[in-house]
Symmetry: C2
Subunit: 644 residues, 2 copies
Amino acid sequence: MTAHSHSTQGAGSQFYDIVIVGAGPVGLMLSTCLARWGYRIKHIDNRPEPTSTGRADGIQPRSLDLLRNMGLKSAIMAHKPARVFEVAFWNPDRSGSDIVRTGTWASCPSFIDARYPFTTLLHQGHIERVFINDLESNGVRIQRPWTVTSFKSDENENPDFPVYVELKHVDGTATETVRAKYLFGGEGARSLIRKQLNIEVKHIDLIEHVWGVMDGVVKTDFPDIKMKCTIHSQHGSIMVIPREDNMVRLYIQIASSNEADWNPRKTATEQQVQESAKKILHPYSIEWERVEWYSVYPIGQGISNRYSLDQRVFLGGDACHTHSPKAGQGMNTAFLDALNLAWKIHAVEGGLAHRDLLKTYESERKGVAESLLDFDHRYAKLFSQRPPATNEVEAVSSSRMDNHDIEEDEFIKVFKESCEFTSGYGVSYGPNEVNWSQSHPATSTLMHPEGTRLRTGHIFINSDVTRVVDANVVHLEQEIPLNGSFRIFIFAGNPSVTKVALRDLARGLGSKGSFYGSYTRSDIDIVSHHEQHNPHSLFFTLCTVFAAKRSQIEISRDVPGLLARYRDHVYADDRWDRRVPNAKASAHAKMGFDEEQGAVAVVRPDGYVGAVTALAEGYETINALNEYFSTFCTKKLTGIAPSL
Amino acid sequence: MTAHSHSTQGAGSQFYDIVIVGAGPVGLMLSTCLARWGYRIKHIDNRPEPTSTGRADGIQPRSLDLLRNMGLKSAIMAHKPARVFEVAFWNPDRSGSDIVRTGTWASCPSFIDARYPFTTLLHQGHIERVFINDLESNGVRIQRPWTVTSFKSDENENPDFPVYVELKHVDGTATETVRAKYLFGGEGARSLIRKQLNIEVKHIDLIEHVWGVMDGVVKTDFPDIKMKCTIHSQHGSIMVIPREDNMVRLYIQIASSNEADWNPRKTATEQQVQESAKKILHPYSIEWERVEWYSVYPIGQGISNRYSLDQRVFLGGDACHTHSPKAGQGMNTAFLDALNLAWKIHAVEGGLAHRDLLKTYESERKGVAESLLDFDHRYAKLFSQRPPATNEVEAVSSSRMDNHDIEEDEFIKVFKESCEFTSGYGVSYGPNEVNWSQSHPATSTLMHPEGTRLRTGHIFINSDVTRVVDANVVHLEQEIPLNGSFRIFIFAGNPSVTKVALRDLARGLGSKGSFYGSYTRSDIDIVSHHEQHNPHSLFFTLCTVFAAKRSQIEISRDVPGLLARYRDHVYADDRWDRRVPNAKASAHAKMGFDEEQGAVAVVRPDGYVGAVTALAEGYETINALNEYFSTFCTKKLTGIAPSL
C-alpha cells in the first residue's frame, strides 16, 4: 500500500495524529499499525529502555496468527521461544509427601482449528524490540524516558486537533506541548491518564493476591520442567512455565486475601521462594544455576469502568484490565485492544466510517475483558474444587475430537471454553453496526445464508487454498496482510454456476455509488500494477475463491471486471483438509458455504467476521453489502435497481 | 556443542586446518560447517564483494531441509523468495502463431515425501550473505579480493600441515603464504586449482550452448509469469523463472552447437532478447520496467575427471561439474558437495575415521554429478521429441499418487526420476564402507531387517513425532542439528516389548570398546547438563523413538542407561500421517519398522542412511553396529560376548 498522510498539511511539527503513552505491547501494537498506515505518531515511554527482564511472555495461538499477518512472526520465532503444547497437573500422592502427575492436556486441543496449537513463551523485551524495529523502519522512534504531565481534549477549541498534551522528560530537564487528534494511554495498571480522567477501576473478584515470580536456569530431575505445570503439594503451589534459553519461570503465590493472615505487604526473598519450591517439588530436586529476574507483586482483578470518555482520549492494555498473570493473557489482550482501536481510527480518519464507530472500541474490548475475568474466576474456582479426572482429560484430548457422544460435564464445558478463550480463538464480539445480526439494519434476505458456519463477531475460519497465479499453497486467512482494509472474500463456488452472479457482483462493486466505488484512492491513476492488495481503495481488499481445481481456473475467463485486477487474490479451493475429509472444496465446506453457489464473507480489518451474504445473480448481493456498510460508512451508498 | 580446536597448538597464526578458495555456495557451505565444528579456516575470494546480481538462484526442496537443519532457513525466507510449486508448458497452438498452455505439473509432486514441495528462488547474493553472517558469528571473515597463486602438497615435508599455499591480493599489493591440512578449490568452472593439478574436464554431452539470461521487472498479461514455464514457439524458446520482488528471470537460448550456423561467440543485446521474447510470448504482451541483470554466456556440460588427487587438495561445485542452468541444480549440487566433504574431514581430523574415508568424497559426489548430467541429457532429449500428453501429466499429478495401476511409460518414468532428482530427494550414494550393502564387511544377520523401507545411501525418511519432555510436535529428521555427528535413531517399538533389548543396547553403547564408548569427548566431565546433542561424544547423537503415546512414556522408567542422558531426544511416535493413515506408529511404519520390535537406523552426519539393524535382546545389536563402524573407524572396536 502506498503510504498516505492524513491532514497534517500546514500543521507544523508539533501536530500529530496521535500521542501514544507507553511502549508496552498495547502501545507498540497501536503505534505499529498506525505507522504502517501512514499516520503521524508521537510515542513516549517513561522507561529509558525496553523491558530488560521479566514481565509478560505468553503469546497465544491466535496472537501468533496476528503477528504472522503483520510479518513479525519470524523475527519473534528467531529467538527460539519455548512452545507449550501441553499442560501437566501435579498433585500430592496418597502419602501426601510426594507429588505425582495426575494428568496432562493439550494447551490448544485439536477441537480448535489453530494454525499454531501452542503457547509461545518469550521474554517481553524481545517482542517489544521486534515492534520497535518495525516502527523505526516506518520513521517512528519511541521518545524515552518521557512522561505525560497533563492533557485536555476540546473539539470546540480545535476541531481538527482537539487534544492538547504536555509532556516532559522524566528528570524534568525538558518539556514539550503537542496537539493531536487522539491520545492513547497504554501506561499499565497505574495509568496516569486513567486517573486524570477520573475513571474508576471495578474489581470483579475481591480476592487479592501477592505473587512471587522467578525466571532462571535450573538443574532438576523434575520430568516436566519443559512443560507448563500446575503443582499442588502439602507445602504450597507453584506454576511452572518454560522459557527460551533453558530458562524456566516459577510463579508462587505468597499470600491471598482469602487466607486468615492476609497481609498485602507480605513478601518473600528469592531464597525463601527457592526453599519453598524445593519442598513443593519433593521427591524431585531443583537447584538454580542462575536467577535472571525475581519479583514480588500484589495483584487484583479489575476492569476500568470506561475505555474512553470522548472518543479522543483512549485507554488500553493493563490500564484497562488487570488479572492473574497465570492466565497468560496480558500481552494478548493488549494486542487485541490496540488492533481493535487502530483499524477504527484508520476507518474514521480515512473518511470511511462515522466517528461513532470509535464507540465500539469500548463496548467490544470491555466486553472481552469482562469475559476474561469472569471466566478466570470460574475456572479457578472449578479447579480449586478438585483436579480433573482422567476420563475428563481424555474426553477433551485430541484423539477423541470426533467423538460427539461424550457427555459434557460442567468441568469439561468450562475447560473447553477455557481453551478457546485462552487460545484467543474464542474471543468474540457481540452484535453491533459492524457485526451483523438479526437486529442489524441490513435486512436483506441474502444476509447470513443458511448453513453458514462463520459467526459474525468471531474470527474468520482458517483454511488452505491454492493461489492461481503461482500455484502456491497458502493460508487463505493470511493472504491479506494487516493493511487496515476490510477483507471481502468472494467464495465463488463452481465457476460455471456462478458466472452471472460473479459478473453482477463485479459490476455492482464497480458502480460509483457502491461501498467499494465510493471510497476509491485519490491516487488511483498512478497506483503501480504490482500493487496486490489496495489497487483501488485503501479500505477494501477483494479475494475470489473458486470451488475448482487450480488448473481449471483461467483468470482472464473466469474472473470478471475489477475482481480480475486482484489477480494475486484468486484462489482454487482444492486442498484436502482433515477436518472436512470428504469435502470437494474444503474452504467452502469449513465456512459452511455451498460448493456450487458460494457466498460472500466480509471480514473486518482485524480478522473478525462482519457479515456474510449469499452470492446471487442480479444486484441483490451488492445491495445487501451496501446496506451492511451503510450502517457505519460516511457516504450515502446507492443501491442498484434490478432493472439496471 | 562445545567448540573444540584441532591441533593448531604451536602452529602460529599462518597455520590453518583448511584454506578455502571461492566464496560461492560450495565454499561457503564448507566453511560454515567447519567453522561451526571448531576448525581454523582461511577463506578467500577474488571478488571484492558477494554476488550482487544474477547467478544461481534455485534452492531445491531437499536443500531447504538442509538449510533448516543448519538454522539458516528463516534468514533466507525472510527475503520473501518466489516459490515454484508448478511448472507450466506452453507450445504453439494449431495455427502456430499464438502460444497456448498445454499442461502444468507439480515441481515436487506428492509422491515425494518432501517437507517443502517447492523450489525457492532467491538471488544468490542474499543466500551468500546468510552464510557470511553465520561465518562471522563463528569468527571467520572472507578475505577479499584475494586469489591463490600457487600451492603444493607434500606429506613428507610436513606431515601435520602438508599443504603450502601462496596467496595474493588481486591487485598484487600484498601476498601471504600459509600452511594448512587441506586446500579446497571452489572457484567455479575456470578453477585455477583444477588447472594446476592438471585435472581434465570430461564433456558428456558434446553440444554446447550460448545462453542469454535476463532478470527484471516486467508488465505483462501472460498469465503464468509467476510460474516456472517452458515456452516453445515458432519464434524460439524461453524459460520463465519467477523471482523475489516482482522480478522474473528469462532464459533464452541464443545459439546451440547442433545448429547449422553454430558460432560459440554469437551474442545478442538486451534489446534483441526483449524483442525476441515479445515475439515468442505472442498473443501476450510484455514490457520491461527495469532490467536488473543481463548476461550472455556459453556453457557446456562437463565433469572434472578427479575431485582430488591426494585427499589434501579438493575441488567442488562448478569447479567439478558444469551443466545447463535450466536444471536449477548448480547451487544445490554445490551445497551437497561441500556437506559431503565437511563431515568426512571432521571425522578424519577428529580422530574418528581413517583417512581413506576422504576417498569416498570423489566416488560419491562424482557419481551424483554423472547421474545429473546423464539424466539432464535424457530428459532434454525426451522433451525435444514431444510435449507431455495430458494423461501423462495427470498420471504423475498429486491427486493420483495412490493409483499404482497406471502403466508407466518411458516419459512418466523419466519424469518421476526427474522430480526425485531435481528435488534433491533422489540424490543417492552407492554401497561403500559407510553405506551398508550385502557386500559390506558388517555381515551380522541383524543388518537391514526385512521390511525396512529406509535405503542405505539414500536420505532418511521424514516423519513427525512428539518430543516427550515438552510435548512439542517435531520433525524427527530435523531434531539433530548439522553438528557433524552420526545420528543413531533407536526406534524402540513398544516399550514393554523392547525393554530388555533397549537395556542391552544401552549397556553395549556404554561399554568402553564400543563405537560409542571409544570416542568420548575429552571434556566429558565438564559438559553442561543443558547440552542436548553431544553430551558424551562429538561424533554421535542418540535418539529414542517409542511406538507409544507421549503420555504413556516416562523417561526415568522407559529409557535405560546413557540413552536417558539424551532426555531431549526421546520421542513418542504418536502423530497421524496421511501417507500411512492406518499405522499406529507412523514413523515406524514409514521407515518399514515393526511397531512392536523397532529397529536402529544409523544416519550419516549429512542425513543419508548408513545402516539399519534389528533391535534384539542380548548384544547382537551393539555388535552389529560395532561391525559397521569398524569398517571406517580408527580404533579396534571390541564386541561384547553373549555371556557378558
